[in-house]
Symmetry: C2
Amino acid sequence: MLVNYPNGTKPKQSYIMHGNRGMSLESDINETNQYYLVHDIAVIYKKPTPITVVKVDFKSRIDAVINEAYYRTPSTTDYNGVYKGKYIDFEAKETKNKSFFPLANIHTHQIEHIKRIMEHGGIGFIIVRFTHYNLTYFLDGSKLISFIENNKRKSIPISYFQTYGKIIETKYAPRLDYLKVLDEYSQEGDHIEQSP
Amino acid sequence: MLVNYPNGTKPKQSYIMHGNRGMSLESDINETNQYYLVHDIAVIYKKPTPITVVKVDFKSRIDAVINEAYYRTPSTTDYNGVYKGKYIDFEAKETKNKSFFPLANIHTHQIEHIKRIMEHGGIGFIIVRFTHYNLTYFLDGSKLISFIENNKRKSIPISYFQTYGKIIETKYAPRLDYLKVLDEYSQEGDHIEQSP
């Protein structure tokens, strides 16, 4: 499926068009993943944006130039990798909304993907930043799925993150230590693994 | 780093330029992954090809058209996912060579990536098809790394695959049941897990 933009919305509405602010959660996570890699903590990467290439120019001596291509809707989440032998999979989103995280920010098949990951013994979660407060939350996949299956509303109130999620503090290095928060969450007894 | 083509070779030499034959291992694996997904066996995807977008045209009412973009060298392998709670990571390559698999087909940082994955408790391997014989081999990451660290030669002889690898048969469905071969390999005592 070809879409206007990676998140399926029109460019004007797109979260990645808001300049530095819109990119900062992504760059915080990329920096953190780089820190995890260099310090031998985990191997987690952002997947490339899915693009359908239509025309490539091979005439140029140095580069193959892609002259026509389109963004595709992603089938999976943006980030995955391995941590302590476990499969890790998550999606990260920012919202300017002060009270809610609109579920339109995550594709239905990304939510299904997170659910499937947990069913197969992997660890799935989302990271959501409320930019107005500069607060970043970890929310385990089980809590995300549970909200969606028990509510008809199309947005998750910030109070749900306060109750069931965990704050990820922004620091110097690692910038956004979400694996520490994941460890704390899983140690608190509300165990992350949902599968046998 | 911008390169001529995803595998770092010039278009004329590129494995994906040989039409149907060049694409068949990839499509066999994609079909197999789809089978695994639908039959609830594993969640494994091919990562999108990394592309650096330079110019995007938003004027068009329907689509955002990418007008200038370049292929990037991939940092990781092409495929990863979760199987029985384990992190799975592999690269798949075809060669027309009758006697050797040239290591130039795999980037140095892809090999380092496979090594790192195993150090973190994940399962890393390569799938290599010798198109001349239409034989597809599974080779565990430990055997790949062991060859590279103990040999100066820039290609792996097919005899090494015969000795240390395992044939993956091509069938109707799943097309290329590499997880069955992985299970057999790990059950044979030459255990896949290298880390604690």
